[in-house]
């Protein structure tokens, strides 16, 4: 009797504790998303205007901003950032929207979609290396064409990669942003009734592409606006891809800031902070330019729409987007292949299409060097993904219990860490961490990763969580079960697939993080990504191939596990074998 009473007491207390945790979760998330951001912005703004007592800065001054502005090539760097941010987004957006409009209900669409999700999980740095290996003057493409088509028997003296206007950087970014926007459009499309809208417009005689652009896109665009802003912010402030493909003299602004941060002259920290303030401005300008473009395009669309032209002959347009998308997928796939080839290449003379010998020598030589950074990446990635997914589930459950769905403005909060350029606030945080001696260890790096992983896990899980048939939960409640029990015994198992996919996505995002790992880790938490990017300047293609391939494989293993685990955990359950991929 006493025992059962005690057991009951423990149960009530556990239930209360769980309820409290659910209740607290959203506040924690808000703190997590805005805390580092605010701290980082303060940590950047203060030294930028001269206030940083540790380094002897106690007066407010414009000097550091001036100093930054007068560094040779500074304005060129600023222009580069704005231009790359804007043009990358425009090209990626046009390719994705054009492809959706041209092929939405064609079988070709489904075939391409299957390729796009895995491409999304390829880390930026690995994709950039692959791109360089393909298109460099001594790259695979020219090797395949030489000497029979080009006549070259030595690599031409062209500056393709690291070109001063950043075209290579632009192309490398487009390669990664297209899959991202593609998946965002796909999930947005599932929330609006695309087929019905299309049928309606098509039955009025509108051509496929134009029907899609006029009746589907406006609704879809509203849903992908924040992801687009994230793309603008990311590409205008990207560091890792820029270190690999971007211009050198001068580099784009974020790379310049990183150089100042690492300058042996400690005074340059002030200039770096000033640069970060300019970076905020540059990203803001790119965002505003996009906003103007938005208005212009919607005005033009409305003008054209009301004329009522049907645009039935869209064969050429469809062909163009067919080619564009095929090229994208082919280049992306080829860049992974070429990474693999280089990683096992023996002697490989210039115009030859393939190395004369292939062996695992370099892999074996580097096995011991690979293990440490890979293990760090796995540790951080698993921790960050777990924390993010648990937080996400707690928040979603809390929303359900209080019958709320996030409003557009709350969503903006979740996107905030993706829309403020990383370099601008992470450098501020790292300055603060150094000040308190907290840099260079596991947890600060992991927490920083969570800030960037959480938005993705939240967006990935939100729809599946809300779409779960509420009658299952009502049935369980009517059977007398508490909300906490239902959460653990009904919701979590039923959502196993999307939860694992979100974990894999979170892991992939974390593994790919370069700047937060580098700056918060102060170089003392090397991961496969920081190590791979560090090889960029060296030019040892075999070694780069190995590191970039491992960097690509880690997230791939995560996604493979997410596919296999439900079938292992619940063998012979139809629910887990026939359920659509999340």
């Amino acid at each position: 009797m006493v025992q059962t009473l005690y057991a009951r007491y423990v149960m009530t207390m556990t239930n209360r504790a769980l309820n409290a945790i659910f209740w607290v979760a959203p506040a924690l998330v808000i703190l997590l998303l805005t805390g580092p951001l605010l701290a980082g912005l303060i940590g950047v703004a203060a030294p930028a205007f001269g206030y940083f007592p540790t380094l002897g800065g106690v007066e407010l001054t414009w000097d550091h901003l001036h100093k930054a502005m007068h560094v040779p090539g500074f304005w060129h760097s600023v222009h580069l950032s704005i231009w790359i941010g804007l043009v990358t987004t425009i090209i990626s957006f046009v390719i994705v929207i054009g492809f959706f409009a041209a092929f939405w209900d064609a079988p070709f669409f489904a075939r391409i979609s299957r390729f796009v999700s895995p491409l999304m999980s390829v880390p930026h740095a690995a994709a950039a290396f692959g791109f360089a290996f393909l298109f460099a003057p001594s790259g695979w493409l020219i090797r395949l064409l030489s000497p029979w088509a080009t006549g070259f028997d030595r690599p031409p003296d062209w500056l393709i990669i690291n070109d001063p206007l950043g075209y290579a950087l632009l192309a490398g970014l487009v390669l990664k942003e297209v899959p991202f926007l593609f998946l965002m459009c796909l999930s947005a499309a599932s929330q609006i009734n695309v087929d019905k809208r299309l049928k309606l417009a098509r039955s009025m005689g509108y051509g496929r592409v134009w029907a899609w652009l006029t009746v589907v896109m406006p609704a879809l665009y509203r849903q992908i606006r924040l992801p687009i802003f994230a793309v603008i912010a990311f590409s205008s402030s990207v560091v890792d891809v820029a270190l690999i493909l971007g211009p050198n003299l001068p580099p784009s602004l974020p790379v310049q800031i990183l150089r100042w941060m690492n300058d042996p002259d400690i005074e340059m920290r002030f200039v770096a902070a000033a640069g970060a303030v300019f970076q905020l401005g540059a990203t803001l300008v790119a965002l505003m330019a996009w906003w103007l473009l938005e208005m212009l395009c919607s005005y033009l669309m409305r003008q054209m729409q009301s004329k009522g032209a049907r645009h039935q002959n869209d064969q050429i347009v469809r062909q163009i987007f067919n080619i564009a998308m095929l090229a994208m997928v082919t280049i992306s796939a080829a860049s992974i292949v070429i990474l693999g080839i280089w990683s096992v290449a023996g002697y490989w003379r210039f115009p030859e299409a393939l190395p004369r010998a292939m062996n695992l020598m370099r892999w074996l030589d580097n096995a011991s060097n690979l293990w440490g950074p890979s293990f760090n990446a796995i540790k951080i990635g698993v921790a960050a993904a777990l924390i993010s997914v648990v937080q996400t589930l707690l928040c979603l459950e809390n929303e359900k219990r209080h019958d709320i769905r996030l409003t557009q403005s709350a969503l903006r909060l979740i996107y905030l860490p993706l829309i403020v350029p990383q370099i601008a606030f992470i450098s501020g945080i790292s300055i603060l961490l150094v000040r308190y001696g907290l840099d260079g260890s596991f947890w600060p790096v992991t927490i920083m990763h969570v800030v960037f992983v959480f938005p993705y896990t939240y967006l990935a899980l939100e729809a599946s969580f809300h779409d779960l048939d509420p009658r299952y939960m009502q049935t369980a409640t009517a059977l007398g079960k508490s909300q906490n029990r239902i959460f653990f015994q009904i919701k979590l198992p039923m959502l196993l697939k999307p939860i694992l996919t979100a974990l894999a996505l979170g892991f992939a995002i974390s593994v790919a993080q370069y700047l937060p790992t580098l700056m918060i880790g102060a170089g003392r938490v090397p991961t496969i990504t920081t190590e791979a990017v560090a090889l960029a300047s060296g030019g040892d293609r075999r070694l780069i191939g190995i590191y970039a391939l491992v960097q690509t494989l880690l997230p791939a293993v995560g996604f493979a596990l997410a596919l296999v685990l439900p079938k292992l955990l619940y063998p012979n359950k139809i629910y887990f074998s026939k359920q659509r991929e999340a």
């Binding site: 019958d403 009502q474 049935t475 009517a478 079960k481 909300q483 015994q489």
Partner: protein, 214 residues
């Protein structure tokens, strides 16, 4: 008589000042109250109110009394009202047996619990299905298991939300007899939402017609 019955005492549900429905009824144990009406007439609102899932946007006046207790504001997990929907909604990640074990109230050793479940299965001649994945069962079998699941949780009343409309005509009669028979055996008041007159007739139910208020 009133002891085990379900009483809806001047139950009035409104949304933003508009009264959606206004009901005064008593369902005795073993009897069936059939709620009929076109879609949009508030049938599911009534079910939600009785089972405790009414969205806070609605306001609810009057009383719901079950077995002598006022449950109008009781937590849904403590109301002891069993629910059955159009689909059987067996939890797809559990086996048939696990579904039934989940419904059984706490207490007893694992063996005792399994024995209780098996006994229930035997009683309806489905003892071979315990280990099966619920999604491999036929529609009629799933419905019967779903009813067993509800009964194992020892409810004091049953709410049936169009439970037969997904079944084909031939099966419908058999499942109907089965459900109403067991409800009577267990002495449970039943509220049945349906738009099939035959359902109400088969149950010899008292009928409430909700009118489209719009």
């Amino acid at each position: 008589m009133a002891e085990h019955s379900l009483i809806l005492k001047n139950l009035r549900i409104s949304l933003a000042g508009d009264t959606l429905l206004d009901i005064d009824a008593e369902v005795a144990p073993g009897e069936v109250l059939a709620v009929m009406g076109p879609s949009g007439s508030g049938k599911s609102t009534l079910l939600n109110a009785i089972s405790g899932f009414l969205s806070p946007r609605f306001s609810c006046h009057g009383q719901i009394i079950l077995d002598g207790q006022d449950i109008t504001h009781e937590d849904p997990s403590r109301r002891k009202i069993g629910l059955m929907f159009q689909e059987p909604l067996l939890f797809p990640h559990m086996s048939v047996e696990e579904n039934l074990l989940f419904a059984l109230p706490r207490g007893g050793s694992k063996q005792e619990r399994c024995e209780k479940v098996r006994e229930k299965l035997r009683a309806v001649h489905l003892e071979d299905l315990g280990a099966r994945d619920p999604l491999t069962l036929s529609g009629g079998q799933q419905s019967r298991i779903a009813l067993m699941r509800v009964l194992l949780s020892k409810p004091k009343a049953l709410l049936l939300d169009e439970p037969f409309s997904a079944l084909d005509v031939e099966l419908r009669d058999r499942v109907r007899t089965f459900v109403f028979g067991l409800a009577q055996q267990n002495n449970l008041p039943v509220v049945l939402v349906t738009h099939d007159k035959a359902d109400a007739e088969a149950a010899k139910a008292q009928i409430i017609n909700l009118l489209n208020h719009k």
